[in-house]
């Protein structure tokens, strides 16, 4: 076995200089995050009047972006979980940042349900605590389910990420100590909880890691389903369909995979980790994304075909969403999510960041269009005719979106800066097994 095989990974966070490109990226992400702060303060001071929402379009970018980020988080987590549970070889290279991407996406998503409220500072009223009102939350409400869903999503995704990270944090501690950086070693040591690599600990750690991974799986399905139920349990004809959860879960997958794929390509180039995220990994990821997109094609087709079986109101509502004022969003989403990722079946493309990154980001953007189409186009045809003008996002809403992208990027950059981006112990394990003749 090769000596010091994971040193480049562990030494990356210990580098003092990350180069101008990293600094530039941090500056960009930091600027966008400041925009987020600005947008949040403006929102708190002036309220939802800043948005383009109205009656009936009571939700705009708030819910669109929330559902979108949750989809990315879910798909990235789902991908990581499946790799862990199947002990797939790809997990060593992409798991860690798939988990990190999921966590950052959940963080970006979680700000929206709070900010979308008319009175965001009262969001904790959805939690059952003994308030002076003596009134409790309404547990029948999808929004209370959603409160538990988001909370569990953040916690369980975080647990999954952290559980896998503990041994590698021990490595970081030891490497920092070896380099004489006692302060840094102390910090890593604390968060590594005194991990010392005992084989007994490893046995229980592996069990716990796989259990948490197994828990993520139903959590993802139920959390995403709960988000979908916020739409599906309403009386709005286009939303009130049993297939909405399936649609949301299924279309979330290519967007999450697309983000992971784009990040993988960027990390290969940006941090020089080509050895850890090798060509084989890129091929596998690319094919997975293309396959998930194909599955979405089925879901889209089913969505239109099912209209033929529905009652008249629902049929008209589906037609209004696909061919009405927001038809561009619907078909733009379908093209970016279903058709464009099919290019990834071409092996040559999968290794070239210039193709992979736009396709991956495009899949995520396509799902964003799909969520936009759901939240707005789904309301075009209600039981009674529309009472207000159409929704169009305003500058403060775009600012909020840019800000949440900035937050996501900043968290990812911090992740690349402070923790090993590849699961080192898994890499060692894999390589030691490969050594066995």
């Amino acid at each position: 076995m090769s000596e010091f095989s994971t040193r480049p990974v562990s030494d990356t966070p210990l580098r003092s200089d990350f180069g101008w490109r990293f600094a530039f990226a941090v500056a960009g992400a930091g600027f966008l995050t400041l925009l987020l702060a600005y947008a949040v303060v403006a929102l708190l001071l002036q309220g939802t009047v800043l948005w383009g929402t109205n009656i009936p379009f009571v939700w705009g970018f708030d819910l669109i972006n929330y559902v979108w980020w949750i989809g990315i988080a879910n798909a990235a987590s789902l991908f990581a979980v499946v790799l862990v549970l199947r002990k797939h070889g790809l997990r060593t290279s992409v798991n860690r940042f798939a988990e990190a991407a999921a966590l950052a996406a959940v963080a970006a998503a979680a700000i929206y349900p709070i900010l979308h409220l008319g009175r965001p500072w009262l969001f904790y009223w959805t939690f059952p605590y003994p308030a002076t009102f003596q009134v409790w939350p309404n547990f029948r409400s999808t929004l209370v389910w959603d409160f538990w869903g988001i909370m569990s999503h953040v916690v369980v995704t975080g647990l999954f990420w952290y559980t896998g990270l503990i041994p590698d944090l021990g490595t970081m501690r030891d490497r920092a100590a070896a380099k004489g950086r006692r302060g840094v070693a102390r910090i890593y040591g604390v968060v590594a909880l005194g991990w010392r690599g005992s084989v007994r600990h490893w046995a229980r750690h592996q069990a716990a890691y796989r259990i948490v991974a197994a828990m993520v799986l139903p959590m993802l399905v139920s959390a995403q389903t709960i988000v979908a139920l916020e739409f599906a349990t309403t009386l709005v004809p286009e939303w009130h369909q049993a297939r909405v959860p399936l649609h949301i879960v299924a279309t979330g997958i290519p967007s999450g995979l697309g983000v992971v794929l784009a990040l993988a390509a960027l990390l290969r180039g940006g941090l020089g980790l080509g050895h850890y995220i090798d060509d084989e990994d890129m091929h596998l990821l690319g094919k997975l994304t293309a396959a998930a997109a194909l599955a979405c094609g089925y879901v889209y087709a089913e969505g239109l075909l099912v209209a033929l079986l529905e009652d008249q109101v629902t049929r008209q509502a589906i037609a209004a969403r696909a061919f009405g004022a927001y038809a561009g969003l619907y078909w733009g989403g379908a093209v970016l999510v279903v058709l464009v990722p099919q290019l990834l079946w071409l092996p040559a493309l999968r290794l070239r960041a210039i193709w992979v990154v736009p396709i991956g980001i495009g899949a995520a953007a396509g799902v964003w269009l799909d969520r936009f189409s759901l939240v707005t186009g789904g309301l075009l045809r209600d039981h009674l005719p529309r009472v207000g003008p159409l929704y169009a996002p305003t500058v403060p809403e775009w600012t909020l979106l840019a800000g949440s992208v900035g937050l996501f990027a900043l968290l990812m950059l911090a992740f690349a800066r402070f923790v090993p981006v590849v699961s080192m112990y898994e890499t060692r394990h894999e390589e030691s097994e490969a050594d066995v003749p």
């Binding site: 562990s10 029948r140 010392r196 084989v199 139920s222 060692r428």
Partner: protein, 178 residues
């Protein structure tokens, strides 16, 4: 004032197989208080030491069930007993509506139970441990494998440990001070 004797002897290996062999020999020699350290999971070694993840799983299951019961019970009690109120003409006890939160809180407790159970069984966090003082132990998290035999049982002292470990061609052998 005399210093106390070593609390254990630790050997460094560069190969997991050598570590497992040393461990097996120590078990056969009757060592009860011993441990091995590796940069990645070595299930054979854990089996030799009689450890598996079953207890973590039981803790997670219990925590998950408790969380689910707690969630359902809270919803039922607060909706039906503490503050019954007519909401949209629906019954107070809304079984289907209570299930999503029940499920997801159960999952939350199970996941948290798995991590916390693992840490509790591993007696972690424990930031200081004598093995950290072993020379070169920093590489236990990279590419070195260690077997540590703790003294204290009758007839199993530092000399016996050193003798046993040296038979397995360790890179080095050292004594651990308390």
């Amino acid at each position: 004032m005399t210093r106390p004797g070593p609390i254990g002897v630790i050997a460094t290996f560069d190969d997991p197989d050598a570590m497992v062999a040393a461990l097996r020999a120590a078990r056969e020699a009757g060592w009860r208080r011993l441990d091995a350290y590796a940069p990645f999971p070595v299930p054979e070694a854990a089996a030799l030491l009689g450890v598996n993840g079953a207890r973590v799983a039981w803790i997670a299951l219990a925590a998950g069930l408790f969380g689910a019961v707690l969630a359902y019970g809270t919803q039922w009690w607060l909706s039906v007993q503490a503050y019954p109120i007519n909401i949209g003409g629906r019954p107070l006890h809304a079984l289907p509506a209570f299930l999503p939160a029940t499920t997801i809180v159960g999952i939350l407790w199970a996941a948290a139970g798995a991590l916390l159970g693992m840490l509790a069984l591993n007696r972690l966090p424990r930031l200081h441990h004598p093995v950290f003082a072993a020379p070169g132990f920093g590489r236990a998290s990279e590419d070195r494998f260690f077997v540590c035999l703790f003294t204290g049982d009758p007839g199993l002292g530092a000399w016996e440990a050193r003798h046993l470990l040296n038979r397995h061609q360790p890179l080095s052998v050292a004594e651990l001070e308390a």
